[in-house]
């Protein structure tokens, strides 16, 4: 994997929030990662461990307190304005609950094409064609293009979320608990879809999840976070050989069907 191009790297990124009473809270403490092309990097840990804060910092939704974020060797830590907007073409995000991430008054085709319209002029006809094409890629029927989000099931909505993340053909997709709100069988089909898209398009994923079992199956590498720190990094298929007590505790918390 090391021979491959490093797409995204962070160098000791920290994010410190100042609370109302003036105390400082370190949500992310010197997190360094490198993400290669076509790779899935899993990020696990309990709520409040700083995984979402970290990816939000990468996305530029809030500035990093210290450290550097590099995209293809270029420093993107403090991008602003037009340059920050252009970055969105390269990194897209899928959220936990697309029901709250979508505008309920927009049709699915407009939801999918919204990122495209932020960057170029597209006619309604062309937008619909692009939307239908993407719906096919995420294994949904073309009729869905004309529906509204509330008419779809959770699994269908998450597929639309994936379609929307794909329309700008980004190199990196960040999945923030993208399958956590779904039933196991639907989760299975979404994970398969993400893996298929990766094989076909070579996108890289940062996959945030609190389910260790799922993350181990979908990730090439897994990073375990606790209280803002990365405590351990392991290959996805070798989680059982973990050393850190926190990873062991996470492993022991997984309920398996076949013991």
């Amino acid at each position: 994997m090391s021979a491959k191009e490093v797409l995204l790297a962070t160098d000791k990124v920290s994010k410190i929030f100042t609370l109302k009473d003036g105390t400082r809270f370190t949500a992310c403490n010197e997190v360094s990662i490198s993400l290669h092309k076509g790779e899935t990097l899993g990020l696990v840990g309990e709520s409040g461990c700083g995984k979402s804060t970290f990816v939000r910092t990468i996305m530029g939704l809030h500035p990093a307190t210290s450290g550097k974020i590099l995209f293809k060797g270029e420093d993107i830590t403090n991008l602003t304005g037009e340059k920050r907007r252009e970055m969105a073409k390269h990194i897209q995000m899928i959220f936990q609950d697309p029901a709250t991430a979508f505008n309920p008054k927009m049709r699915i085709k407009d939801i999918i094409c919204e990122p495209l319209r932020n960057f170029e002029r597209v006619s309604d006809k062309e937008a619909e064609a692009r939307a239908v094409d993407l719906l096919r890629q995420v294994e949904l029927a073309p009729e869905i293009a004309l529906r509204y989000p509330h008419e779809l099931s959770g699994g269908q909505r998450q597929r639309v979320g994936i379609a929307r993340a794909l329309i700008l053909e980004p190199e990196i997709i960040i999945c923030d608990e993208a399958t956590s709100a779904l039933d196991v069988s639907v989760q299975d089909s979404i994970a398969k879809l993400l893996a298929k898209i990766q094989r076909e398009k070579g996108v890289s994923y940062i996959f945030i999840c609190h389910d260790l079992a799922l993350v181990s199956l979908i990730s090439h590498r897994v990073m375990v976070m606790q209280k803002g720190n990365v405590v351990e990094e392991l290959p996805g298929d070798k989680l059982q050989s973990c050393q850190h007590p926190y990873t062991k505790k996470l492993l022991a918390s997984v309920f398996t069907v076949h013991r």
């Binding site: 994970a191 079992a213 199956l217 996805g236 989680l239």
Partner: protein, 262 residues
Amino acid sequence: MLLNVKELAIDYQGKNTVANVNFDLSAGEIMAIVGESGSGKTSVIRAILGCLSGTGQVSAGEINFNGRDIAHLSNKEWLAIRGKDMAMIFQDSGNMLNPVQTIGRQFVEYIQLHSKLSHSEAVKKACGLLARMNLPDPARVMDSYAFELSGGMRQRVGIAMALTFSPQLLLADEPTSALDVTTQAQIVDELMQVVHEAGSAMIIVTHNIGVAAHMADKIMVMAGGKVVEYGKTDEIIKNPQAEYTRTLLGSVPEIGGQRYVS
């Protein structure tokens, strides 16, 4: 036999949604209902508790609780049963708790509603119950508002309240689904322990078959408002008969299982 459900059917807006549900439960037994969202599993336990949402109603069948059919009780008759003989734990107890009252105030109100305890006795009982759920510093929890507690703590409060009167039947609707894996593991074990101590029977609704296999004596698998499979946990897990059960079991991610990526 504590609970016996016969040919239960549930309608929403006059349209049949759940049909032909049959099962029985003895004291001390734990049953899990598993299935996808929309399979009707929550409707079944809500029907047992007599609180189907919206236009839902039991259209056929019997729900025998201690030999008495409770499918069509009046609201007044329910008051004596619900919360005392039968209690429910919700997915997110934070939504069940009153946001503008302290935990202590609503807990004490609930205890005094169903018993003749004095205020100080009720406070003592509540603190004891909170302590039993491994909540550190129960007195502080009593003085807190729901939003001041973490999800795991709120869920422990919800379970403590449900167990107040050692109900004969405990219903749990996805009690651990909103929690982190580590908290989920703790709460599942605590829940099993206190249920056994109280000698209650429990029905747990979950989509996590791992949790169901760990907790339950028997499992009922539901899909599209119908019971697909019903039997002892071991038999369902080791030798599933229905195709749907097999799909469901196959989609549970397991460490060291079939990987999505190479």
